[in-house]
């Protein structure tokens, strides 16, 4: 029995890579990440380059521009151009960077902060009531209203957007971690470690926290997906990333006024956004099924 000698962690890894949702979702996510990373190599132009003569051209439009040496070079607007003559294809590819940065940053920050607070609330019972009431308060704040407040206090920019989306996500992580800690602290092996004289910080790191990893990975994927959507909404509303930066929300916002005549400005970034969120959610669902058997059986 080859599998029996593997550690529980390795067995889980094996299961993960055999799950079809994880494979399909993961591959798509990987493609989008690579797209963002290698944006300059994918036949793109400067996403902010304005070309007044090529405004609102349909997808596939071919023309020539002069480069800095004055030579005429052919260009193709693969997905058309926007009202300022910028290349929509290039803007979408570069936009992936912002979306992924926002999604991953929000997930990383909210999970880091949420785990620490959640462990404290779950393990130190006398702090629990106070912490959880504060978390309930935070949860009541809608991300969009908070974003308006943060942007009007500071500057509109990447940092403000990340802060505004992170704050309401933290309580969700806290609740998840707290509930796991509450059930794990009653496990006999944790009590055995207490009678073994293990100090509390080591006890938490060694025996309690490993149990939160799997649910947090799953929760993390869902946070990434929802952060990407919220970022797009904020940009679309004009309270997110400044309009000169190519983000999927910004592209759609700029295309909005003319979208009945030139739908490609909204259609393509919308499709990419939907595909991204769908693939991340697929990955998350697959991870949940493999990492958390309770959910898998319920399906």
């Amino acid at each position: 029995m080859a599998t029996a000698t593997l550690s529980p962690g390795r067995q889980t890894l094996r299961r993960i890579f055999r799950n079809p949702s994880v494979l399909i979702g993961g591959t798509l996510v990987l493609v989008i990440v690579l797209m963002g990373l290698f944006a300059p190599l994918l036949g793109t132009r400067d996403p902010s380059d304005i070309s007044p003569k090529d405004r609102n051209k349909p997808p596939g439009y071919e023309t020539t521009v002069r480069d800095y040496d004055g030579n005429k070079v052919p260009v193709v607007y693969r997905l058309g151009s926007d009202t300022l003559g910028r290349d929509v294809y290039s803007r979408i590819i570069y936009g992936a960077r912002i979306s992924l940065i926002v999604g991953i940053a929000v997930a990383a920050i909210s999970i880091s902060i949420g785990t620490v607070i959640g462990v404290i609330a779950g393990y130190f019972r006398w702090l629990d009531g106070i912490i959880m009431r504060i978390m309930d308060g935070l949860m009541a704040i809608p991300a969009i209203l908070l974003a308006i407040a943060v942007v009007s206090l500071f500057n509109a920019g990447l940092a403000s957007v990340i802060i505004a989306i992170t704050v309401p996500e933290v309580p969700r992580v806290v609740r998840l971690v707290r509930s796991i800690v509450l059930s794990i602290r009653e496990e006999p092996y944790v009590e055995a470690a207490i009678t073994a004289g293990t100090r509390t910080p080591l006890l938490l790191v060694r025996h309690v926290l490993p149990n939160t990893i799997a649910p947090l990975i799953v929760q993390g994927t869902f946070i990434v997906a929802s952060a990407i959507i919220v970022e797009a909404i904020l940009s679309f509303l004009g309270i997110g990333i400044p309009p000169e930066v190519p983000t999927w929300g910004n592209i759609m916002a700029e295309g909005r006024s003319v979208f009945q005549i030139f739908p490609h400005n909204i259609l393509y970034p919308g499709l990419v956004l939907a595909l991204t969120v769908l693939s991340i959610n697929m990955l998350g669902d697959g991870l949940r099924d493999t990492l958390d058997p309770r959910f898998a059986k319920r399906v």
Binding site: T5, S7, G9, T195, G197
Partner: protein
């Protein structure tokens, strides 16, 4: 001969290809006559529940019957389609389960749940159904059925819920009742009542009962005939007395020899030095005052005990008696509300965690559930050296003594690199004992340490505990609900009820001549107390 209500012939149920054996059960043949109670006994994994589920048509999708037939009054239930099975269940065969709480719908009144059976299978009107429900509740001796019919399951006790389950099962007068460990989750006094009830119903209505259990006391109490299963096969079947007293198969003989006797062996009082002294220990749950909700439970009330070196003190009682609370207070997993705990003159009841830590190595605990007692993510070796390393022993030295401890508890020292899931329950409990011994404690608390184990494994672990107690001159506090186990291992016995110690004395005296009414009740309720298992073996 009377036509049997159930006639299972050559039943074989295949396991999925990744199972640990080819078939869950293989070539099972047994019969249940009308008015007969047939007990199927076996240790965990022997296939007894699979047999019952196959007859009821309740097998999980992964398990398929591949051969044989199960004739219910001549009709093969294995071949019946879904509609036919649904009609048969309830009317001709019924089943009761182990957990009376989860087997009842928590959001429906119990009367509705009984009436539901009538609604599905008969044309009775609503008022007739209600009348019939009250009638059957009377028959299973539920108090005040007119009132109780509108109660929800959570308002009833465990025993009452199991009576409701029996009422639901019997309301349509089925020919066959399958009972799958129906008393395992109940306290011993409640268990005795439920067993009496099942017997009464079977006698009065002539129902054939297929009773699945792992408890030989229960078998002795209730069975007409006994079927012994091991690894999915029947190893022996016969009348109750044949199987229990004159077992033929070596496996049955071994099982019978493993059942602890209700008669305590003669013991000389242990007069070692005091290892631990507990005085006036109380633990109160819930708070009064401004932030409390006013509900207060006194889980342990003024408990005083001492254990000498080399002595085993047993604490017995039913669930909620406070025996585990006392153990957890002594191990300082919870802080007692009042009282003192003295370890060699050091008072540990009120020490804050930081100052308590050096004393923790003196009191070690072995828990009930071997599957949750070891961190599944850490190797056995890491679990065994955790405590010694905490107390300043170098890692190499701790590993070396872990190796010798593994051999002491009867396991190979090579197993240190493996993970808990690679061991059986009994092996894990041995590992937990080794872990407790790793810091050379003075007091070892065994909190229901053998309750989750099969009887043959239980006997081995008990022997191991007794052996290490003698070898290390340990003071052992043995918490159990099982009087048989207590009789065999304890020097002195304390009986607890509702947080209070009601009786205390040498084990032999408590069993022979109980002074307290509750103790008498407990002893009388112990199933199979008059039967000597595997006779011929000196007790």
């Amino acid at each position: 001969m009377v036509e049997p209500v159930l006639d299972v012939r050559g039943l074989t149920v295949a396991l999925p290809s990744d199972g640990d054996r080819a078939n869950a059960v293989e070539d099972i043949s047994l019969t249940v006559a009308p008015g007969e109670i047939v007990c199927v006994v076996g240790e965990s994994g022997s296939g007894k529940s699979v047999t019952a589920s196959a007859v009821m048509g309740l097998l999980p999708a992964a398990l398929k019957p591949v051969a044989g037939e199960a004739l219910l009054e001549g009709e093969n239930t294995l071949a019946a389609n879904k509609t036919r099975l649904r009609a048969l269940r309830g009317t001709r065969m019924a089943m009761i389960f182990q957990e009376p709480m989860t087997a009842l719908n928590p959001v429906a009144r119990v009367g509705e749940q009984i009436a539901e059976m009538l609604e599905i299978h008969t044309g009775m009107s609503a008022s007739e159904r209600r009348a019939r429900a009250i009638e059957i509740m009377q028959m299973v001796h539920l108090p005040d059925p007119e009132k109780m019919i509108d109660a929800y399951p959570h308002q009833l006790s465990g025993g009452q819920r199991q009576r409701i389950m029996i009422a639901i099962a019997l309301v349509l007068d089925p020919a066959l009742l399958i009972a799958d460990e129906p008393t395992t989750a109940l306290d011993v006094t409640t268990q005795a009542q439920i067993l009496t009830l099942i017997k009464e119903m079977q006698e009065r209505r002539g129902t054939g009962v297929l009773f699945i259990t792992h408890d030989f006391g229960v078998v002795a109490e209730i069975a007409d005939r006994v079927v012994v299963m091991q690894h999915g096969k029947i190893v022996e079947q016969g009348t109750r007395d044949e199987v229990l007293m004159r077992p033929q198969a070596p496996y049955t003989q071994m099982l019978m020899a493993s059942v602890p006797s209700m008669t305590p062996p003669a013991r000389t009082p242990v007069v070692g030095a005091r290892a631990i002294d507990v005085t006036g220990l109380s633990k109160q749950y819930g708070k009064t005052g401004l932030f409390g909700d006013g509900r207060v439970v006194l889980a342990a009330d003024d408990v005083t005990l001492h254990v000498n070196k080399g002595e085993t003190l047993g604490i017995v009682g039913e669930s909620g008696s406070g025996k585990s609370t006392v153990a957890r207070c002594i191990a300082r997993l919870i802080a007692p509300t009042a009282g003192s705990i003295s370890l060699h003159g050091t008072e540990i009841a009120t020490l804050p965690e930081a100052r308590l830590r050096p004393h923790r190595r003196k009191v070690q605990i072995v828990f009930q559930d071997p599957y949750r007692s070891l961190n599944p993510r850490r190797t056995i070796g890491l679990s065994l050296i955790e405590a010694p390393v905490n107390f300043g022993i170098p890692k190499d030295q701790a590993l070396a003594s872990a190796r010798s401890l593994m051999e002491l508890v009867g396991l190979s020292a090579d197993a240190l690199d493996r993970y808990p899931h690679q061991f059986s329950g009994g092996q894990r409990q041995r590992i937990c004992i080794a872990r407790a011994l790793a810091v050379e404690p003075d007091v070892l608390i065994a909190d229901e340490a053998v309750s989750a184990l099969d009887v043959s494994v239980q006997a081995q672990v008990l022997e191991l505990l007794d052996d290490i107690r003698a070898r290390y001159n340990l003071a052992m506090l043995f918490i159990t609900h099982d009087l048989r186990v207590a009789a065999q291992i304890c020097d002195r016995l304390m009986v607890m009820q509702k947080g209070v110690v009601v009786e205390h004395g040498p084990t032999g005296q408590v069993f022979r001549d109980p002074a307290n009414e509750y103790t008498k009740l407990l002893l009388e309720a112990a199933p199979g107390r008059d039967v000597t298992f595997g006779a011929g073996r000196a007790v």
